[in-house]
């Protein structure tokens, strides 16, 4: 018999600290699989954020850096520029990190088409601090700091990162995926691998937004949480490619010619 599925090599063999059913683990594995398949572990540097995945530096076998809250794209910019021909640099960030406190760093790394790979976990809540409203929490979503449901009149509407960044001429590739069933996991894997391949090819800023679940803070079973992604998140955050400059998915394409 042949082993057809095992833990990827670039994922260190230690148990994750994540809650049962948290999809961070799936995305970690997909990132590690992409690194393994592209043979880049030895020249990859990952940047961990502040949030639930703060300790991602303990899980990836490549060199890792822990960034201040929201600053991962700036840190990644520094690392990448220190050795642009050799290093492969990725950030792994949650919604509070990337879409709230680190919005400026995200937008400007994208605008510069910084040649890095950004993995963006959107689970519509602050997990690490115990379930507060995120920039991506849905209208009406009940959280610890929106106990009567997110009221757009008082706290605005969610930030749609892929849509927003696709308005910039800079970035190479923006895609929103999810990992709530096997088919979607396979698709997320393809997108993440492409985001790394783009960097290897020198194409520039690639961001994969992964709609993820937080069963603990959503107050659901892991199974129900995955269904909630289908029923509530995907309608608000449609899946798909928002920009793929090399393949003509780019509202600026005509202007560039």
């Amino acid at each position: 018999m042949e082993t057809v599925f095992k833990r990827p090599k670039s994922l260190i063999d230690v148990p994750f600290h994540y809650c049962p059913g948290c999809t961070h683990g799936i995305v970690h594995r997909l990132v590690a699989e992409a690194i393994d398949e592209l043979g880049i572990e030895g020249r990859t540097v990952g940047i961990a954020p502040v949030g639930c995945s703060v300790m991602a530096y303990d899980y990836f076998a490549c060199d890792m850096i822990e960034a201040a809250h929201g600053r991962a794209p700036a840190v990644a910019t520094g690392v990448k520029r220190s050795d642009p021909d050799n290093l492969i640099v990725f950030t792994y960030q949650g919604d509070g990190d990337l879409a709230s406190i680190g919005t400026a760093e995200t937008v400007h790394a994208a605008a510069r088409n910084e040649n890095i790979t950004v993995i963006f976990i959107n689970n519509a809540i602050y997990g690490m601090t115990g379930g507060q409203m995120a920039p991506t929490s849905l209208p009406g979503q009940v959280t610890q700091t929106s106990p009567y449901g997110r009221d757009p009149k008082a706290c605005g509407y969610p930030v749609k990162i892929c849509e927003m960044l696709s308005e910039l001429q800079g970035p190479e590739y923006l895609e929103r995926v999810t990992v709530n069933n096997v088919k979607n996991v396979r698709n997320a894997k393809r997108a993440i691998k492409k985001a790394f391949q783009n960097q290897i090819d020198g194409k520039g800023f690639s961001l994969i937004e992964v709609l993820s679940s937080c069963p603990t803070n959503w107050g659901m079973t892991p199974k129900d949480a995955l269904k909630w992604i289908d029923d509530h998140m995907i309608p608000y955050y449609p899946l798909g490619v928002y920009k793929d400059r090399s393949n003509g998915i780019d509202k600026f394409a005509a202007k560039e010619d």
């Binding site: 018999m1 057809v4 833990r7 148990p15 994750f16 994540y18 059913g21 683990g25 096997v182 892991p222």
Partner: protein
């Protein structure tokens, strides 16, 4: 013919593998409690497993190895 291996002590009993299995042959063990205090996932009919890797694809803790 296929074989699933679970790193039982690292299972958190989330059950996502169970829902992913097209053959319906996975369950959370009723008898066993692992080191973490969870009822871990197990396969009740290995003969029926086709090695599709769906369970492993959905496992957030990456504890399933699939051979075929």
């Amino acid at each position: 013919m296929a074989r699933l291996t679970f790193r039982t002590d690292e299972c958190k009993g989330c059950g996502l593998c169970i829902d992913a299995c097209p053959k319906g042959i996975l369950r959370l063990s009723e008898e066993t409690i692992n080191k973490k205090g969870h009822h871990p996932a197990e396969c009740v009919d290995m003969e029926a497993c086709v090695g599709c890797t769906s369970c492993a694809m959905m496992c957030p803790d990456c504890i399933i190895t699939v051979e075929r």
